[in-house]
Amino acid sequence: MLIAIASGKGGTGKTTVAVNLACVLSSSSPLTLADCDVEEPNAHLFFPGSGVKEPVTLPVPVIDPGRCDYCGKCGLFCQYGALIVLKERVLQYPQLCHSCGGCRLVCPTHAISERPEQAGTIERYDPTPSLHLVTGRLAEGSIHTPTVIRAVRDAVDGAPLVLLDAPPGTACAAMETLEGCDFCLMVTEPTPFGLHDLRLICELARLFRIPAGVVINRCDDEDTAVEAFCREQDLPVLMRIPFDRTIALMQGSSRIISRDDPVWRDRFRRLGRDCLAMAGGR
């Protein structure tokens, strides 16, 4: 079962909700937490430890200068400017390459082969005996966010229960994380920006036909435009987290409220049960 924690807007509390859910749900059955926010992974800050870092690579072209006659076909073919042919030189920008392999196909002298270029890493370890953490991390300067997320998804393939901490936004990276999930928990805040991006992520979940529920963070008032939107869209509000200094302080010192506070433990247990029920009801 795959449960994504997404938000549209950044900084609404996706990771807070993900690590708390991971904490309570892993107390009763084995769980994998997949940090798919590979541009800035942070779930690991709450679960110290380390594991083997496996590279995530993509094939990029290598030109054999002995065979290349600078005909320019590869340079004209490449839509990404990843290689250009000058008079007697081929200039490469591997960071712009999308690994389509087209340059190799159009080369009449078979001067192009491929080498692996690192797009990122995947790190995995068990912070507790029943919790497995998989962290994807994009290499500095790389643009291949979806590739690294795909590698995280492959690494958790087959695990019985997976929480995916999604990247913010609703573009490629969020889609790569959400696709095929059984449930999407949307974390938002009662602000115009929170509402605007909640609309977008709601639309995306609908597009993928994923059932969804909402957590409203920093919520001190139930009479907000976000609540009205949820009612109008039939989105269940599964939890409200108040704007609370104690929570902020615990969060800031990488403590987990559901582990340290029995009231929050019960609340997150209920949230976990609701998510599992809604995910199973597909």
């Binding site: 320019g72 990404y80 990843a82 250009i84 042919v85 200039l91 712009l96």
Partner: protein, 117 residues
Amino acid sequence: MYLAIPSSGPTVDDPVDTRLGRAPYFLIVHTETNETEFVSNPYAADSGGVGPRVVQMLVQKGVTDLIAPQIGGHADNALVAAGIRVYLWEGAGTVSSALEMYRAGRLSLMAGKSGSS
């Protein structure tokens, strides 16, 4: 030698475009015969990697000199590799005024990587 000037439109009365990769047109001038040609930039609206591809196109046109206001990192690399001299264009003005200033020797080579090549 051929000189290229990024242009916002297809005439010499149009302003010099402030971008290299995304300029809609280039005026290409044969500096000895004064023959001129406007070429449209096929990459102007593409999503990325436009700088290197425009340089590739200019090299194929035989361009050796370029007047440009600002240049991105990828294009700058390509201009250095291609040995194209880049003249700095500051402020506003039409393509014809840029051409006059170039002919009068009043433009300076860009101080960046490409200027020093």
